[in-house]
Every structure is written in structure tokens, then in C-alpha cells.
Amino acid sequence: MSPDLRFACRQLQKSPAFTLIAVATLAVGIGSATVVFSAVNALLFKPLPLLDYSADRLLYVAQTDPRRGDDDLGWSYPDYVGLRQRLTTLDGLWIHSDRTVILGHRLEPERRVGTDITWDAFSLMGVLPLYGRPFHASDARAGAPDVALISHELWQQRFGGDPAVINTSVPLSGRPVTLIGVMPPGWRYPEQTDVWTPLRADHEKLNARGYYAFSGRGRLRPGVTLAAAQAEADGIAAAFAREFPETNQGVGIKLRPIREETARNTTELMLLLFGAVVFVFLIACLNVANLLLAQVATRTKEVAIRLALGADRGRIVRQLITESLVLSLLGGLGGFILALWGNDALRALIPVELPFWLRFDFDARVFAFVLGLVVLAALAVGLFPALRASRPDVVTELKEGGRSAGAAGPRALRLRNALVVVEIALALVLLVGAGLMMRSFLALRRVDPGFDPRGVLTFRTGFPATMLAGQPDLPRRFFADLVPKLAGLPGVESVGLVSLLPGLAEGANALELEDRPAPARTLDLPQAHHRLATAGYFHAVRIPLLAGRLFDDATDRPGTPFAAVVDEAFARRHFGDPAAALGRRFRPHGDKDFALGWIQIVGVVGSIRHRLDRAELAPTFYLSLNQAPGQFLSVVMRTHTDPAGFTQAAREAVLAVNRQIPIYHALTLEAVVLRTIWPSRFFGYLFTFFGLAALFLACIGIYGVMAYNVTQRSQELGVRLALGAQSAEIIRLVLNRGVRLVGWGLGIGLLSALALANLLAGLLYGVSPHDPPTFAAVPLLLAAVALLACWLPGRRATRVNPLEAMRLG
């Protein structure tokens, strides 16, 4: 152990309270920053697992419609084939499409995510099965035997990790499929898939140009720039537009680094959040620097004597920096432990399953980050005090005996005051951010979604197409049996079925309205969401009927003209008002899913917000499940008591109707709704947490400075008391300085917050970035807490014993 280190440890042991506060403060700063960095790292920097090349080469490839501002249409299969044939700048291009699969095999049926994927995709990515074989080209031919790869996780959970399962046949969605291999652990491409099947030439969605059913990825050829690849793709898109004007006019192709795509909704927020914790870290450093300055001030006399005796200044700086390095190493250790814990807390705040590539666990980058912070903290904390202490005014310090009271180094005082001002400003900015985010979240929660999510249990169930072989009526019969069974459960008020739950904004359709001229381009047709539902659905989730009628199974029978219930937004957009919409007809453009013909509007219901974080109400139409049956449906059950308690009964009811069918996504409707706005809550919590941490640290900082101030001035305060100053005057004197610091801090903080709040504008719902209540309440709160932190030492100052105080002078 070097003498400097030994002396540093002894110094820190000598004042355990100071050491504890300093280490804890740094731990909070470093811990907060590390938690957020691990998230930023996971989202933006960590490579995809199992890839042995830079993830920068992986591209997200999508068809786009710039004119409608849609930069991700997905892919239609014929366009993908054309692109793959012509493109030279990529050495791999593949597409996939997710679907639900149902695993049989001895146990209860279980639902998993399956993915149809270009047969050579994994080979192009360079990820091969751990056991068994990859797909071959022959697996993708029409009529080839059914084969599947499974994830290591599924293999462990469902098949007990038994290698003998490879090359055996397993019922997958009702069809025997041969498991040809197990992928390596952790591989769930593209997000949470457990079963991969080759995209086969007889796939039902393959031949519709203009039908964007697939998601595409590609890999840049080594040495090729993204710009070059994009240029080539632009040329090919232009060629498509000439060759297939009806579908491809104005449709582009966009290549993006995969990270940019996968993180695009959160990158901005993550960076903001990262900025916030950098603030917290800075505040922590400033605090400790301040504490250390105060500590060192008590040592200036000693240092002055040493310097007078000829000590070398560099040596003294080194000594003090060693001390701060020990402090920040301890703080780093504490911060790391806090971060491990915070990381778990963070994940607990995310109510949805994360894609396989998003891993928050700490890697070398996180360790390097912590070490970097430790060094930064050591410098930030130690340099000021070290430089100050090593250059005392030797003459003044040694003249002590004849010195008058209160002369406490004006330069050091100004520095410490400035640090406090900056701390308060930083805390204010953070708290304003937190306040805005929380107000936005609350505004989202207050929004009337147009339905009543309380007291409703939902789950999903249904039949993959492969289970319907020869009996297309199976789902209808199944649901027809299921609904009365569920409705008969004690405590269930009403039961309904819907193809997509509220909260999901998917499923938009282009429409043609009867007696309206059609626009030249498909993409310019009016759009509406479509849902299949029963009348019970509207009852169960309490969507009000505004005009006409709901579905009626006796009237809206299969084989009779289709009836639609549209929502208010639909009716108003196209017909002016709800009543005017009744009797009007429309049809989905292209109409490939179901041959519907003209659909007549028989009822108008209230609009619901499919996404609670969006202001607009998207026009929606509902078709009767009796006329347009669905294979997979969401069941909604309004119950008299806690809906979550009905999950088991629902599962049993489903199995009683069909032993092959699992239920999944069993959640209360409230939980479903919360899932759609969780990022807003998540980031609101984080900002609030870090804002409070900043507030707490700032208060410790103010308290420390003011308390130190009082100690430094105790002689002066003693004199004033001896001369007859009243307590109130002493408190006012102490508070005065505090108020001035707080005032400056608040002023600077407010201006910065006004400027920085615009960064949040895109994330806020129903709240202006310059929301007056937030901008009024936060400074008030901060001022109150800060003044309390000043008042405590002021109060103590009045208890100064003038006799003792003056004797010390």
C-alpha cells in the first residue's frame, strides 16, 4: 500500500460521517447512471446475441409509402423475391411472418409464437442449430414434408431437453411436424419466437403484390456502405413502380440499421433519461466536492504549515486526489450494487415480454462505464479542493492569531455557493421533466377510452388454419359453445367476442364507399380499422350504441348480406353524423380476406381509442362474427367480482369445449390498456425517481453548505448575539444567504427547464411542455424544501453559545 493510500484511508476513517455521506451520495449518482446506461447499452449498443459480426451490418428492410408518411409497410412476397434477385449490395435478404402455433404433444395444449421465415435466413445470419440440421431449400418447396426448428428454451421447458425429440414428429397446430433441430440458447429471432417453420412456396400469403404481410431484414455485404445499398434499393423500387404501377406507384424501399429500427421509439427517451441521470451524477459529484471543500478548509492551516516548511505542492495535490479516488471507488462499488438492484426494479416496471435481443444484464461495457464514472467522480470531486487546499494564502493562514472573525476565504466560499446554485438548477430541470412526464401519464389515464376496462377479464384462444382441415366451421361451433358456458359461470355478467382487443391499433383496411368516386391510387383510399365482434362484446366492454342496432344473430346470418356496425368517428368522417350513416354501404378494397361484397351499416356505436397515447380516434367498423367468423378471437367477460379470479374457470371452460385449444394472454382489460401506455408510465416513474434523487442530493448539498457556513461564522454569530441580536435576526441572516443561493438556482434552473422542456414535447400527451402548473409547482416545492434545508442550520445558529463561539475566535 502506498503511503498516500494509507494516509487517505486513515483520513477517511477519521471522519466516518463525512465518508459515509460522501460514499452514499456518489453511490446514488453512479448507481442511477449505471442503471440507465445498462438500458441504453441494451437498446443501442449491445450486439445481437450469437452474431459473430457487427450488428451494424444487419439492416431492417421495409417497403415505404413516403407520400402517406408511412416508412414501414412491411413486404409483399413478390416484391421481396424481385428485390432479392436484383440486389447486389446485400449478401443476404430474408423475410418472416409471425403466427400463433399450438403445441400438442402429451401435455395440455400450449400456445407459442411461431415464425415462418425464409429457409436460408439463419444461415445468412450465421446462426446454426445447436442440435439437428438447419432448413434446406427442399424444405421450402410446395408440398414438402412439414419441418420445424425449435428454441432451446422450448426444448428445455416442453421436452425436458431430450435430444431424442429431434427428428420425431410433434403435433403443431394440429398437424404432425418433424422437429429437425434445436437453436442455440437465447436465440428467439425475431423477438420471442419458439418455433420456426420454413416459408413455403405454398404459403397462403405469398402471391399478393401490394399485400404487405412480411417483415424483412438483410445483411450488408462487407465493405459496402449503407448509402450505396440504399441507392441501389431506390433504383429497384423505381423499377417496381414502372413494372407494377397499380400496386407499386410511389412505394419506396428503405434500409435502416437494425438498431435504429428496433430502438426508434425509445432512443430519444433513453437519451433524455440518460441526460437526466448524468445530471444526478453531476449533482452527486458537486455535493461531495462541496463536502470535501469544507473538510479541506479545516486542513488549510495544516497544509499552510507544510508548505511553509517547504513541502512540494504536487505532492499535496496527489494526496488529496488519492483520498477522493478512494471515496469514489467506494462510491462506485456501492453504485454498482445499487445498479444491480435498480436493474431488477426497472424490469419489474415493464409489463410486457421483451424481445430476445434486449438484454439488460451487465457486460464489459457497463463495467467500463462504472469505472469511467469512478475516475470522473474522483477528478470532479477531488480536483477543486486539492487545488484550493494546496494554494492557501500562507501569510493569512499563519497570521491566524491576529485575524478577525468571519474571514472564511471569499474565493472558496464563492465556489461552494456556485456549486449549490448549479445543484439546485439541475434538480429543478429534472423535477420539471419528471412533473411533465407524470402529468402526461395522468392525462393519459384520465382520457375516456370510450369503453369501460374495469371489471373485465380477457383472454385469447382459437384455431390455427392447419387445425381446420376439412372442418372450416370448427371455430364458429367452438365459440358458439364456449360463450354460453362462460356466461353461465357464477359471477359473470356478460361475455363477448372480438377479433382484436381495444388497445391494439392494428388491422387497418382501405375502403371504398358506395356512390363515391374512387381515388386513383389504392393508398389514397379512406382507411378504417376493422374488428369482428359479437353484440355481447359491446355490452361487456360498455361501448354505447348511438344509432341503429347491434348485431343480431337471427338477422345477420351467414349467407345474408353483410351488416356492419361503425363507430362514431367513421360515421362523422364519411356521413356527417351517426344517424346519416345508417343504411349506407361500403366495402373493403381488395377484399382478399373475405369475399364480403357491399356491407350495409346497421348501427353506430361510440368510438374507442385504440391507443391511449394517441389523441386521434381512428374510424373503425365492426362486422358480425356470425357472418365473418374468426379463427382466433379475444374473449371478454365482465364479472361482478375481481376479473383476474376467473382465469382458471375460463381455462377449464375452454378445455371442456375443445381439449386441443389453450387460452393465452389472460389479462384484465385494465392490464391490457396499461400495456399500451406503459412506456409513458415507465419513463414517468424513472424521471420522477431521478428527480427525487436530485432533489434529495441538492438538499443535502444546501444543508451541508449552510451548516458549514454557520460553523464558519459561529464566531461572528456569537458576536452578534453578544451585541444583542435577536434569534429572528440571526435566522434571517443565515437564511438570507440560503435564499440568495436558492433564488439564483431556481432562476437559472427555470430558464434551462423552459429551454429543455421542448425536448420532451414529442413525448407529452395532453400537457404543454411549458405546462404552467408544473412550472409553478416544481419551483415552489424545490424552494420550500431548499429553504427548510437552510432553516435547520439557521435554527442551530441561534443556539450558538456566544461565549464559546467568541472564545474559539
Binding site: 458576536v719 444583542g724 461565549l803
Partner: protein, 236 residues
């Protein structure tokens, strides 16, 4: 010593006991003291005998454990803290061994301090401060900071501060203790002239030379008054 002038300070049976770590220190034991308006009293005695403690009680900086204290005809032992602060401010002027000027304030502001606590109007304060500084010969240094003055000059400012409020009594605890003999002489001369002009002064000093300035010297030993002697040459 004239007995017809009214009593300004009257201590009866004043005792002060400090309790530290279960040890009782009897700093003062049954002090009787009577000081009249216009007197110049010095308190002498060996180190630790209780001189400063006595002065603190006189200055209402401390309270006696037992006994009564009547200042200017008013018993003061039962007063609240704010009342005591008021009396300190109006009736008493302190001069300390270590000057105790406030380093951030100018000479002028230091002298002004007790007057501001009194809520005196600005113009009157100005007049009083100027007068007090003139009296101690520091009028030309009003804008200086204490650190820019010599020890003797600082003590003269401290005297001016004590004077400015026209207190009933000036209390000085070894006012020359931190000064060389030349500066010490000057401060003593200043106190002497104040006395001649009518001020009541109670001063603690080790220095027998300076003690002779006083009309009356009270000798304290182990917390008791053991002897009083009256300087022949200083009598009225």
C-alpha cells in the same frame, strides 16, 4: 468613594457552577458586588479564578446558578432570551480581548451593528457611529475592513462599537491582552478618558499597571471576592 450616587450593578450571593462530565466547577461562589454609575472598576486575580465568568454574568451573556442581579434598578435573572438580548443591546457595551470584529463588515458597519439591532433611524445611526469613531481616533478608517488594521486599531474600533450605543456600562475583558505595550497603553488611555467623560467601566485585567487606572480594584480568588482596594489618586 461617594455613597449617594445610585447603584448601577448590584450582585447578591451570585454563584456560578459549571457541570462538566459529572465534575462541578464552582467558578463563582457567593459574590456580592455593588457598582455605582460613573465608577471605573477593575477585576484582578489569577488565571481561572472566575474573572471572565463574572464579567459574562454582568454582561447578561450568562446566568448565575444562584443569587440576584439587579441592573439599573431592575432584577434581570428571570428575563427571557429576547429581553436579555434587548438589555445587552441597550445597556451594555462589550470590549473583548480578541476584538471580535466581523471580518466581512467595514469598520463603519461594525460600529453600526448594535444600533441596527435597536432599529435606530439611519441618520441618527450615522451621527452616533461617526462620533464614536472620532472619539477613538478612527474616523479616517471608516471604510476599511478589520483585516486592514493593526491590532491596536482594531481594538479601538471595538471600543467605538461598545460606545456607540451609549450603554450604561462598558465591560472589557483583558482589552489589552492581544496588544503590545504601546498599543495597550493607547487603549487604556482611551478607556481612561471615557471614564473621565462619565462612562461606567468594568474591566478585567492581569496587568497591575493598568489596574491602577481604575478607582477600585476587586480581587477575586477561587470564585470569591477576597479584597477591594481603592486607588487614592483616582477618587472623585
Amino acid at each position: 468613594m461617594s455613597t449617594d450616587t445610585p447603584s448601577l450593578i448590584k450582585l447578591e450571593g451570585v454563584t456560578k457552577v459549571f457541570l462538566t462530565d459529572e465534575v462541578e466547577t464552582h467558578a463563582l461562589s457567593g459574590i456580592h458586588l455593588d457598582i455605582r454609575k460613573g465608577e471605573y472598576v477593575s477585576i484582578a486575580g489569577p488565571s481561572g479564578c472566575g474573572k471572565s465568568t463574572l464579567l459574562s454574568i454582568l454582561g447578561l451573556l450568562d446566568t448565575p446558578t444562584e443569587g440576584t442581579y439587579v441592573l439599573n434598578g431592575r432584577p434581570v435573572q428571570g428575563l427571557t432570551l429576547p429581553e436579555r438580548a434587548r438589555i445587552r443591546n441597550r445597556e451594555i457595551g462589550f470590549i473583548f480581548q480578541s476584538f471580535n470584529l466581523i471580518g466581512d463588515l467595514t469598520v463603519y458597519e461594525n460600529v453600526e451593528l448594535p444600533l441596527t439591532y435597536r432599529g435606530m433611524p439611519n441618520s441618527e445611526r450615522k451621527q452616533r457611529v461617526t462620533e464614536a469613531l472620532e472619539k477613538v481616533g478612527m474616523g479616517h478608517r471608516a471604510k476599511h475592513l478589520p483585516s486592514q488594521l493593526s491590532g491596536g486599531q482594531q481594538q479601538r474600533v471595538a471600543v467605538a462599537r461598545a460606545l456607540a450605543g451609549s450603554p450604561a456600562v462598558l465591560l472589557a475583558d483583558e482589552p489589552t491582552g492581544n496588544l503590545d505595550s504601546k498599543n495597550g497603553d493607547a487603549v487604556m488611555e482611551l478607556l481612561h478618558s471615557l471614564h473621565r467623560a462619565g462612562s461606567t467601566i468594568v474591566m478585567v485585567t492581569h496587568d497591575t499597571r493598568f489596574a491602577r487606572h481604575a478607582e477600585r480594584t476587586i480581587h477575586v480568588f477561587d470564585g470569591r471576592v477576597v479584597d477591594e482596594q481603592v486607588e487614592a489618586g483616582s477618587a472623585h
